[in-house]
Symmetry: C2
Subunit: 167 residues, 2 copies
DNA sequence: GTCTATTACATAGCAAGCTATACGCGACGA
DNA sequence: TCGTCGCGTATAGCTTGCTATGTAATAGAC
């Protein structure tokens, strides 16, 4: 497992350079900054960041179940349940019974939810563009690749943990 | 402003590659994975991730005010107030009046809080090491640099926004 | 055909983040 | 000295995330 490539030895970067040099700190900070930036841009449409992933999944295909949405956006089920409740309250979605299975309910977009699509996609693009300002395409790609690798390292139990769902 | 370097044009990566290719999505997911990893490792010590940054700042120097801690860890004041309340409840810190200013209170670590230092630093290092497993030192440095640049892009109003505080 | 196990969703309760607002103390000009 | 303004904390109320647990409906074993 100890290949030829010089690999990070895990020695206390934190102790050596302080908390700002910690991956965890920096990622947490960035996540909050991105969320706030998105919030500012979509507030006028009556949408909040937490509703974003579910909306995107529904733009690809409606009539999904709650469980399906959980897997697609990597969020725990009770979190999704609450998010869907707020989205229903805000008139973005409706939930109807699944004729094939009495436990499930199928999530559909309302006309309003559907109409927001272009504005929301534009807002997300704009945030990502702002965030990556001054970075070359290669650097952005590099960043995304590195992030993916770190995510995979932490993603417990390998890929079987998150079964494939219809996209 | 449009230099010679090929720069990301901001065209809808989201629309082209789906939400998993979005910086916002990936960073949010990573932040949650890192938080959970840290939570698992420090739960036995009766500490939770939100208390971590404040603890590190206090390990560097005790007797800080709430406002000082806010600036150091880049958290809004009401969030810090609540976090400090929980830390006090959990016996990690104590708050005494500032003799020089009746509005302020000075935060000190308890013996228990102080004793946890090596275990907590080790836990954080271990999470960061896990996360960056398989990445070379150069790749880790590259990732941190890219993250810093993105953070700076989003950090509203330039550096004056966050006045320097005694470290 | 019933009994059990699994699956889908709901609920409770907590942490951690935010904005907006209230309140008490200090500083400072008139 | 006395307002007034600013600063430090606290509180209220929301979202977004989690774990643990409850409940109803389905699927499978027998």
């Amino acid at each position: 497992m100890t290949g030829g490539k010089p690999v990070n030895d895990g020695a206390s970067r934190l102790a050596r350079f302080g908390r700002h040099a910690s991956l965890g700190y920096q990622v947490n900070l960035l996540a909050r900054l991105l969320e706030q930036a998105l919030r500012r841009r979509i507030a006028a449409h009556g949408v909040v960041p937490g509703q974003f992933p579910a909306l995107l999944a529904l733009y690809e295909r409606e009539g999904r179940t709650q469980t399906e949405l959980c897997h697609l956006v990597r969020i725990e089920q009770p979190t999704m349940a609450n998010t869907l409740n707020r989205m229903q309250r805000d008139g973005l979605i409706s939930r109807g019974p699944d004729p094939a299975d009495g436990r499930r309910s199928l999530v559909e977009l309302t006309a309003r939810g559907r109409a927001l699509r272009p504005a929301l996609v534009a807002a997300a693009d704009s945030v990502n563009a702002d965030a990556t300002g001054g970075l070359s395409d290669v650097e952005v790609q590099n960043l995304m690749d590195l992030l993916s690798r770190v995510v995979e390292n932490l993603d417990s139990g390998g890929p079987d943990q998150h079964p494939a769902v219809a996209t």
